[in-house]
């Protein structure tokens, strides 16, 4: 079902994508924590691409007649899971961001009142 040509194209695409991701982690523009799911997804696709018989085997195990449908289904599940994990991350970040902003503002306020107290004492 997969032609050799397509197999090679997919493999090259995935490998270069993996290289870009790893390079971004190396340059610290991407956190390993958040890149992990992309790396595993890339490696998973690469394995399926190199061993196309696996696709059929998995589809048989899951009881899906058309292997392509299984690919769509798994891809969809993966995207859904990833978005959900990101939503959790955003929630946590926004709570933290709020707390940091509040603390910063409160300290700024305290600093200013200390400053004005000091100038009062001096004069």
């Amino acid at each position: 079902m997969l032609t050799l040509k397509l197999q090679i194209i997919v493999a090259i695409t995935i490998i270069s994508a993996l290289c870009i991701i790893i390079n971004m982690i190396r340059r610290k523009s991407l956190e390993l924590r958040y890149a992990l799911s992309w790396l595993t997804a890339g490696i998973g696709i690469l394995i399926l691409d190199l061993f196309p018989d696996l696709i059929k085997t998995i589809a048989d195990i899951m009881g899906i007649d058309t292997p392509a449908n299984m690919l769509f289904f798994l891809g969809f599940c993966f995207s859904l899971g990833l978005t959900f994990v990101l939503t959790i991350a955003i929630s946590r970040m926004s709570v933290r961001m709020k707390k940091i902003a509040q603390e910063l503002a409160l300290y700024q306020k305290e600093l200013e009142s200390l400053k004005s107290e000091n100038t009062k004492k001096e004069t």
């Binding site: 946590r92 926004s94 709570v95 933290r96 961001m97 709020k98 707390k99 902003a101 509040q102 910063l104 503002a105 409160l106 700024q108 306020k109």
Partner: protein, 242 residues
């Protein structure tokens, strides 16, 4: 006057209130002189910041816009850390009349309540909000009665006075947006006492309500869900920070 609550704080959340903030502060200084106040400037994009600095107001400037919940919560943290006995929220748009604050504090002390809400709908005087909004508020009243068994006639009122224990609770955990009805459920669920007293509110001086018409459907759904979750939430768990 109130012996139990000598230190009283007014929290004024202000987002782009350049037209009203001076009037609000003057009003407070004249009509509620025994209260301290703190303005929380929620990263306004207009001249609110300059006005506050020029007049030497007691103000906290938030570095990013946190929305009404985060701004008011900053006030509660400030009040709690500075040892205030009670705190009351007065909106910066001039809807709330500071003349009622002393009466609210008296009432709070006499009844030993943890929260006093200024309600528009007990005496039905003054600005009553538009018809469609009143229906929404009535719906929240019914929902709160179903969830907690208590009747709060004006659950969306921003004019709310709280004791030190509720201040502590709000400092730790306060809804982000549209906080009023949700926090009423949380406070009641923590076994605290809420009473209402009749107040007269004015129509806003300027600016716009935070709830516009096309946001109202989202508002109703979001607040309903938030109230249901507040009813079943595990209150012993704090916001996950560290």
């Amino acid at each position: 006057m109130q012996k139990d609550y000598p230190r009283k704080l007014i929290i004024i959340p202000a987002f782009n209130e350049e037209a009203n903030i001076e009037k609000t502060v003057k009003d407070i200084e004249e009509n509620a002189p025994e209260f301290d106040y703190i303005i929380i400037n929620d990263c306004s994009t207009d001249k609110t910041r300059t006005i506050c600095t020029q007049n030497n107001y007691n103000v906290i400037h938030l570095p990013v816009n946190l929305g009404i919940g985060g701004a008011v919560q900053t006030g509660y943290i400030y009040g709690y850390r500075n040892g205030y006995d009670l705190a009351v929220q007065v909106d910066g748009d001039g809807q709330h009349d500071p003349a009622f604050l002393s009466k609210m504090a008296d009432y709070m002390e006499r009844s030993q309540a943890d929260m006093v809400i200024g309600s528009r709908f007990i005496d039905k005087k003054g600005f009553q909000s538009s018809g469609i909004r009143r229906i929404g508020i009535r719906y929240f009243t019914i929902l709160i009665r179903l969830l907690t068994g208590q009747t709060i006639t004006d659950p969306t009122s921003g004019l709310r006075m709280v004791s030190q224990s509720v201040m502590k609770q709000f400092a730790e955990d306060y809804p982000k947006d549209y906080p009023e009805p949700e926090s009423v459920v949380t406070v009641l669920r923590n076994g605290k006492k809420i009473i209402e007293i009749p107040v007269v509110m004015r129509a806003r001086n300027g600016g716009n309500s935070s709830i516009s018409m096309n946001k109202s459907a989202y508002y109703m759904i979001k607040v309903t869900l938030a109230m249901l979750i507040a009813r079943i939430r595990d209150n012993s768990r704090k916001e996950n920070l560290c």
